[in-house]
Amino acid sequence: MKVKKFLAFLVVLASMLLVLAACGSGDEESSSSDSSSENGQSKEESSDTEADDDKPYIAIISKGFQHQFWQAVQKGAEKAAEEFDVEITFEGPDNESQVDKQIEMLRAALDKDPDAIGFAALDSQASAPLLEDAQEKDIPVVAFDSGVDSDIPITTAATDNYAAAAEAAHQMASLIGEKGKVALVVHDQVSVTGVDRRDGFMETIENEYPNIEVVDTQYGKGDHLESTNLAKTMLQAHPDLAGIYGSNEGSAIGVVNAVQELGKEGEVVVVGFDSGKQQIDAINNGVLSGAITQNPESIGYETVKAAVDALNGEEVPEMIDTGFYWYDSENIEDEEIQAAIYE
């Protein structure tokens, strides 16, 4: 009896696996086939098929697709494609945990034998063998956004976080009249973005504004609650604080919460980074003076441009700064800002 049950279980299990395998291969097929078939999940967009041989073809694999940020990157890439008369496809997995799906997309893209590849790796290690393939086939790889941890890419098109944080410092300085005490709430003391966004701000203040003193830097892991508590403590420790800078969404919101909970709206200048509904609301109600946002359209544009330059045999710099915007209540409705920020 028990054996029978076990056998039945095995049969069921095997058939389930078969179904899954069938689904899997179906998925694979549709994502590796050309643009005439869309599988809805990971949408692939191409203005034409690669049959059009005279135009160079650049395959771009991003880290996402649905998020507004990636749609803006795509928009920029398409703009450049039109300008330089190249063919592009732009695709990415549904979310940033689907490393396997992204690898699948990269493999499919390589199979199409593109002239160049734009790639923002979810996992540099996992994509290494495929990138080596690309190198063997002499397909130039342009890394973008957080880039790829490897020397294969010819360049990386990404936000210069140090320069962006320096701009936040300049804005802070002018908002507080170039004097007084400021503090930083940073999301992380180890990651590259955390360090760049801290040092860019701090060193700019120290080097260029002798009358501004950086009195404290604390790290809140980008955790909204922890950032709120620590920003609140900072305001207690330094009641005469003129301004606080939050280095990402969670940090900036923490500072905004702290200022609101203490009823210090208007007394303390808050400068943020990135966007999100709460930061946009805080700018509209005046608690947040403004924030820095990356420029996703420019990331897409520069990626395609660098690939084109490489195809034309031109030198490309090792790093391409894709720029950033400062946005506040004055320009938040502008088209270029609206394209760069999201709720």
Partner: protein, 330 residues
């Protein structure tokens, strides 16, 4: 307050009661010493608004710690409270923002969701006989994943829900401008204290923790009571989740991981023994306050954050070491 329960197990009242009280006095004394130290170190420490800030920052971890004290006294552990709290705040968001239910229903829903998480953990521990560490580790992951799935991995905002922020930050007694979250914390301390020292739940909690087998042999349905205890702890998690959501005016699905360890640290500093059978909620309250006074004080002195963490680590070591010395003395 543990005396009554301990008594009924026929242990020596004088010794245990004495050392329990001693531990609490020790913890309380450390808290006072810390407060005096920081007051001298920084003039900005002992201001009303900073004290209010300390109390407010104690609430979430504090309420989590209160709930998990019950579980720890039974000799168990609950690792799911951090992400479980996140799941309850996400569910509160779903009820209020997505489904448009009245705020009070959303709050109750959040608290009951916490109870459900606790119940599932309790079921795994008592009926399926999975060790608490593993059962609640699994629950921690399930809750973390579900929070992301249910919310679509993006925050749920309560900005359009009139007054939601006031649940934690408003002040129901205008005369003393203490945020509601702090009042809720103290109310939870009282509720927990009554449950633990004045009701049968509390008696069985201690009894299971001191000797589960003896408890079972004396005819008590240990499985049932364990599930009840985990469910009660889960309800505390739910309350913490609602307060968290209200204070941030949003349910942030990716937060929560790590909060369980801070809560467990608070419980341990408060003198509750991880091997079960002993502990008190007043101790946990003091433990949670020590944690937040320490964090706040070190921050106010602008001690680099890396060192803050080191100091807190040492405090936990010391607290547990003293606890062990005390036990040896018995």
């Amino acid at each position: 307050m543990a005396d009554t329960a301990v008594n009924k197990q026929g242990n020596s009242k004088k010794l245990l009661g004495g050392s329990q009280a001693l531990q609490q006095i020790l913890a309380f004394a450390s808290l006072i010493i810390l407060i005096i130290f920081f007051s001298v170190a920084s003039e900005n420490f002992l201001t009303w608004s900073n004290v209010e800030g300390i109390l407010l920052s104690t609430t979430v971890i504090g309420i989590l710690a209160l709930g998990t004290t019950f579980v720890i006294i039974t000799g168990g552990i609950d690792l799911s409270i951090g992400t479980g709290m996140t799941l309850t705040s996400v569910m509160t968001g779903v009820f209020i923002v997505y489904l448009g239910l009245p705020v009070i229903v959303g709050i109750l829903g959040g608290v009951l969701m916490g109870g459900l998480i606790g119940f599932v953990s309790g079921f795994s521990v008592s009926i399926l006989r999975i060790p608490p560490f593993i059962a609640t580790l699994a629950m921690m992951m399930i809750a973390e994943g579900l929070s992301l799935v249910i919310s679509g991995a993006s925050p749920i905002y309560f900005s359009d829900v009139e007054g939601f922020n006031q649940i934690a930050l408003g002040s129901i007694i205008p005369a003393i401008s203490v945020p509601n979250a702090v009042l809720i914390f103290f109310v939870m301390v009282i509720i927990g204290w009554i449950l633990l020292s004045k009701t049968i739940v509390g008696r069985y909690t201690f009894s299971i923790g001191s000797n589960e087998e003896a408890t079972r042999l004396s005819g008590i349905n240990v499985k049932k009571w364990k599930m009840i205890i985990y469910t009660i702890a889960g309800c505390f998690t739910g309350v913490a989740g609602v307060i968290m959501a209200s204070r941030l005016n949003s349910a942030q699905p990716s937060l929560g991981m790590g909060y369980e360890l801070e809560a467990i640290a608070a419980v341990v500093i408060g003198g509750t023994s991880l091997s079960g059978g002993k502990g008190s909620l007043i101790g946990t309250m003091i433990g949670a306050l020590i944690m937040s006074v320490l964090t706040n004080g070190l921050r106010i002195m602008s001690i680099p954050q890396e060192w803050q963490t080191v100091v807190i680590g040492f405090v936990i070591l010391l607290a547990v070491y003293f606890d062990m010395l005390r036990k040896k003395g018995e």
